[in-house]
Amino acid sequence: MHPTFSVIFLTTLIGAGQGLFLAMVTGQLYAIARFLPAQTDQFYAIGSLVALVLLVTGLLASFFHLGHPERAWRAATKWRTSWLSREVIVLPIVMFLVFAYGAAHWLGLTMPLFRVGESLQVDATLLLGLFGTIASFALFVCTAMIYGGVRFIQEWHTPLTVTNFLFLGAASGFMLAAAYSAYISNPLVTFFGTWAVILTLTGLASRSAHLVRNAQMKYKSTVQTAIGVRHTVIAQKAQGATGGSFNTREFFHGQKQTTIETVRLLFMVLVFPIPILLIGAAYITSSPTLPILAFVIQYVGLMAERWSFFAEAKHPQNLYYQSVA
């Protein structure tokens, strides 16, 4: 598939946004459980704002993918069957909840609404955080299933696509939370950093499993089934157009195999070992900049990861577009 930057930005930005939001809520839950020192409402509010900015930027990026963004509202209509439609519905919900969660913190709407059990005071922020978390998970699933649901692209059609999106998005969000904490010299750097490392390692497991799976891919479709001729040697000569077509532009990355391999190596380094090492180094040195660097590097790495995700996907229609003459 041809990697388009609008979609790369969309998925990585909202992934980080969702992850950051999850980090905020996680931080709040830990604080409620008194595992962590309580933070100011402003901390959560600003964190949510950053998450919202990421989500909005991602949404804006996605418009560049559309031929007719002005009709994007129509995309909400087919939620019964289309994961894309579902994403279009869930994304604003997430954005609203992230906004509401941040706003609730900003406005200090922390008076308990009700109590659960003995000790858990449930206030508006917690409720919104809970709903926001559910919505964020739903959004991860929707976004990932846009790709994972395309059964024809076998590289994508696996639960690992969902786990990749989830863990890598969450990792980058927690990494950003660590960076945010470091930036404001907040003691939660270690907490968020540790979660970021855990999520990054989980993401590594998931993404590695994905790579291993795809390396062993047996394709359902072959040129034999594509044209219905039974022979071991079939080669396309002409595809009916010599100047290219939508089919050659949308479904081919047009890059050399060495580029593909380089990008794969690049993201495997940028997303996983380097941020982990940097966070580790940040523990030791208490550096405020290393977590920021870790996030930036991981984010760049994730863009490469998403590029690679597209580039490595082979669409069966490509069997019809192998040669020009």
């Binding site: 080669a235 010599t242 003459a325």
Partner: protein, 966 residues
């Protein structure tokens, strides 16, 4: 969006439909042009048309884009004073200026030496008018593109069976059981062949394709027989060998309808050696082959007049006539000839296993013998034998340029004609069928002028510019035996060059050999690009000057609808119309679109107004002819005879009162006659009322065996199609060729070839088909240049001029050299690599594509996809010039100097057919640092005045809206 079910074209704009005839290629299908608000909305096949029966091809469906092409020339243009020729610096002039300029120049030439004016046209289906204009002008220097297309196919078969493929006749696939196609690419007879081929296959017919390349029609063959280019003759002769050896020939057909049993004088000492022994009896003089010949009677063992009732002649043996003349039936000579041509002999030459050759022979012979067709159609032959039925042997052949475009093509095609004949398949059901006005006498009657005195100032040419020589006296040579035509056609160099040699005109005119000319008028011929061999050098010749600064070809006029490469080299450009903007007559005087069942002709009528100042070339000729006061265009009182082309078509008669004119349908004052009849002033309207086509279906008893069908031949004579109703005996043995050979051997009194050409003529004018290596292969180092290089036109571009067509060019915007993967491996390059193709004459750089569908000794490409930068209305970065290439740069128009001449054309020595496919090449990888563009490149051709500016990045055609927007 509106519900499509509720949508109708008529709701969007005013719709109308007009019928006319297509001209996106030379096939000439009936079309319906649907217009919306005056713009072409849809062109589809006319279901009522006999040729295409409602279907249409890729080109026909893209006619709209031809209409709106930015390559259109819209104004008459004159090369600017002081501008160099070839730089496309033109100024717009009026038609009046153009006509007066031309009239003045041509009138002077006509008064001094009409030969100094040469008219050559790329299209050969307007020859009735263009040929008439040349003859009236008095110049012999006229031809169409046949000489560089397929004249070998026309001449080889017409000199053998009195007809040929394509417009002259074809395979009867409706009844054939076995169809063998040789050397036919995607072309020559486009839609009808596709229609018939599909139906044939559905009926379970067996289709064998012999071709070095498997594309197009060959793709759906039941068997592909890959063959080395230029060796078809060896294959056919070996098949003939096997068929004769096994007795699989149709003996009855051979004895009755061919000269197989006729006795040939067999005494090398005699001056008439190799001619038929002709008994002394009265014969009417004519251009037919008189029947005063002898058979050898099997029963009585004596010589006897041919076709003596009840006589069964010998086909084999040698005999001595009463006067002591040793004779042999010509079939015996054929048998002796092919004895050497065993399948084992042909196998290494053709690359086809001997057992395959043998099997092909068996399939043909056994099918012809055992699957006989008998139709309950009574007919009478020329010897008054009544037949209760028409019978046929269902083996059909089709062949085209793959056989023709070699310098051994004529003899190869003779071999095909002989094979078709011994199988008994000529004008019989399931075999080969003629199309009116064929069959014609062997050879047909019209002759070229035969001496310099035929060309006189201010006088029409004495003879037809093109004709059919039957003996040395018919050649168009001077007292020295040298050429009179600028292309040297009908000279001893190419005696039977019945379509001329357009491919040598520019070189000869540039060299001034045999003489310099003044004005060269080219119509629709891209001689500065794909229609010339040696394109790069030709482009230099077109701009070459004498030391005094005068161009070697002083004045070049180009008439074309599009800014072709050749337009750049014009001094005067005349903007032609497209086919949708003009009248045309697809005339019986020319090459009509007849069907097997009878004559068919057709017209084009304008559907749209001409763009800008465009004027149909036919109207230009009528105007010029009138201004020059050429006799056929002028009344006795000197006034103009025809208002315009449509007026000429209706009122012209070949001679006063002949009743024969351009169109065969709806003749006579009230339109109730056909073929012959007085001019009908309402003829155009009547064509328009009848789908623009006239189709006369012959009675069934006249539809077969027409060479010898008394009823048909008398009908044809009565309707002005033939001059004689004599039987057209098939020339298994060609006495015509033998006459030329005897002259070359110095045995025959009368005209003799110049000394240097004696051996050449004696060698190639063999009365029986034989195989020889193509001339270029004979003089090329085949170890250095081991590969054959071929071209073919793809179906979506066949016969068309459509790289300027926005839709068609998307299918083929550039081309690759197809090579067998083994060739790539042996030469160290891979699929898709940039490579050089080099011949002894030049080289081109291109991209290669590996293909398993080409025999390993051959490389090939789609022809004429490559264009010069900027030509055809394309941007300078168009794929056609950056990635497309022309193989012509590797092909020479002249053979290396030899004892036979310093400047012999790279052509068939019999017919002058351009030997495009003889070129030998080698291929090697382009160096790493080389630019990834094809080579050679030429300076981009600028846009011409009146030509539309380069279109933008987008084009979204919607009929009715498109024109309004722009």
């Amino acid at each position: 969006m509106q519900d499509p079910v509720a949508y109708s074209d008529g709701l969007v704009g005013r719709v109308e439909m007009k019928e006319t005839t297509c001209y996106m290629c030379a096939c000439r299908c009936g079309i319906r042009v649907h217009l919306r608000d005056g713009e072409v909305r849809y062109i589809d096949g006319n279901p009522k048309h006999p040729l295409n029966k409602g279907v249409i091809c890729a080109k026909g469906s893209s006619g709209i884009m031809k209409q709106y092409s930015p390559a259109r020339i819209t104004q008459p243009l004159r090369r600017k004073k002081n501008a160099e020729r070839g730089t496309s610096e033109f100024e717009v002039i009026s038609w009046e200026e153009a006509f007066s300029l031309l009239t003045e120049r041509l009138a002077k030439l006509r008064a001094e030496d009409p030969k100094k004016f040469a008219l050559f046209t790329g299209r050969d289906q307007m020859q009735a008018l263009t040929g008439m204009f040349a003859k009236q002008f008095g110049t012999p220097n006229y031809a169409a593109h046949g000489g560089f297309c397929s004249v070998n196919m026309a001449a080889g078969l017409i000199y053998t069976i009195g007809g040929s493929f394509w417009e002259f006749g074809g395979p009867d696939l409706e009844r054939a059981k076995l169809f063998v196609m040789i050397g036919t690419a995607e072309d020559h007879h486009s839609n009808p062949l596709k229609i018939d081929l599909a139906a044939f296959k559905r009926r379970g017919g067996r289709f064998i394709s012999v071709n070095p390349i498997r594309t197009g029609y060959s793709a759906i063959a039941d068997e592909w027989v890959p063959i080395k280019p230029g060796t078809d003759g060896a294959l056919l002769l070996a098949i003939t060998h096997e068929i004769i050896k096994l007795g699989l020939y149709d003996r009855e057909f051979l004895t009755q309808y061919t000269n197989a049993a006729e006795l040939v004088i067999d005494d090398p000492e005699r001056a008439d050696h190799g001619l038929f022994y002709r008994a002394e009896m009265h014969v009417e003089e004519g251009c037919f082959d008189p029947q005063n010949k002898l058979w050898w009677d099997r029963e009585l063992n004596i010589a006897i007049s041919t076709h003596t009732p009840g006589v069964d002649p010998r086909l084999m043996g040698n005999y001595v006539l009463e006067d002591g003349t040793p004779v042999k039936p010509s079939f015996q000579l054929l048998k002796e000839r092919v004895e050497q041509y065993t399948p084992e002999w042909a196998s290494p030459i053709t690359g086809i296993p001997a057992e395959t050759i043998r099997r092909l022979a068996h399939e043909m012979g056994v099918t012809a013998r055992d699957q006989k067709i008998e139709l309950p159609i009574p007919w009478t032959d020329c010897w008054d034998n009544e037949h209760n039925s028409v019978t046929g042997n269902p083996v059909a052949f089709h062949a085209m340029r793959g056989m023709a475009a070699h310098s051994n093509g004529f003899q190869t095609i003779r071999a095909l004609g002989v094979l078709m004949t011994i199988l008994g398949t000529i004008d019989r059901p399931g075999g080969f069928r003629h199309k009116a006005p064929y069959p014609r006498p062997i050879p047909p009657c019209p002759k070229p002028p035969n001496g310099p005195e035929a060309v006189q100032p201010n006088t029409p040419l004495d003879g037809m510019p093109l004709g059919w020589p039957s003996k040395p006296e018919d050649l168009f040579v001077d007292g020295e035996g040298e050429a009179i035509r600028i292309d040297k056609a009908f000279s001893w160099e190419y005696p039977l060059s019945v379509h001329g040699l357009m491919h040598n005109v520019i070189t000869n005119a540039w060299r001034g050999d045999p003489y310099p000319i003044d004005t060269l008028l080219l119509f629709m011929a891209n001689m500065a690009w794909n229609s010339s061999m040696n394109t790069g050098e030709i482009r230099k010749m077109l701009v070459d000057k004498h030391p005094d600064g005068e161009y070697k070809i002083p004045f070049i006029v180009v008439c074309d609808a599009f800014s072709s490469e050749t337009v750049a080299f014009a001094d005067l450009v005349l903007p032609d119309t497209t086919y949708l903007e003009r009248h045309d007559a697809l005339s019986m005087l020319d090459r009509p679109i007849s069907e097997y069942d009878g004559p068919v002709d057709a017209v084009r009528v304008p559907v749209l107004k001409p763009k800008g100042e465009c004027k149909p070339f036919q109207d230009v000729l009528v105007e010029l002819g009138s201004r020059l006061q050429l006799p056929a265009f002028t009344n006795a009182d000197g006034s103009r005879k025809y208002r315009d082309y449509p007026d000429l078509i209706v009122n012209y008669e070949t001679s006063p009162g002949s009743g024969i004119g351009f169109l065969a349908g709806w003749r006579g004052k009230s339109g109730d006659q056909f073929l012959k009849g007085e001019p009908n002033p309402r003829q155009w309207e009547m064509y328009v009322q009848n789908n623009c086509v006239f189709h006369y279906e012959l009675p069934h008893s006249y539809q077969y065996m027409r060479n010898w069908n008394k009823g048909y031949l008398h009908w044809a004579r009565a309707h002005g199609m033939v001059r004689y109703a004599e039987p057209i005996t098939l020339h298994l043995y060609s006495e015509v060729l033998q006459k030329f050979r005897l002259a070359a051997e110095g045995k025959r009194p009368g005209r003799q070839p110049p000394e240097r050409l004696r051996e050449r003529v004696a060698t190639y004018f063999d009365p029986l088909p034989f195989f020889y290596d193509p001339l270029e292969a004979q003089v090329t180092d085949l170890r250095r240049y081991p590969l054959n290089a071929l071209t073919q036109r793809p179906m979506a571009m066949y016969h068309s001029w459509d790289s300027q067509n926005a839709w068609l060019r998307q299918i083929h915007s550039h081309n690759y050299l197809f090579v067998n993967p083994g060739v790539g491996l042996a030469n160290g390059f891979g699929d898709g690599d940039w490579i050089w193709v080099e011949s002894p004459h030049g080289r081109v750089r291109c991209m290669c594509r590996f293909s398993e569908a080409v025999e390993p000794g051959t490389v090939w490409t789609w022809n004429a996809i490559g264009k010069a930068a900027g030509a055809w209305g394309l941007g300078p970065n168009a794929d056609e010039s950056r990635k497309g290439f022309l193989l012509n740069h590797t092909i020479t128009e002249e053979l290396p100097p030899s004892a036979a001449g310093a400047h012999l054309s790279n052509s068939d020595p019999v017919t002058g057919q351009a030997a495009w496919f003889d070129v030998r090449v080698r291929v090697y990888k382009a160096a790493d640092g080389e630019e990834a563009v094809t080579s050679p490149q030429f300076a981009p051709m600028p846009r011409l005045p009146g030509q539309e500016k380069q279109r933008g990045q987008w084009q979204a055609f919607v009929a009715g809206l498109f024109g309004k927007k722009s």
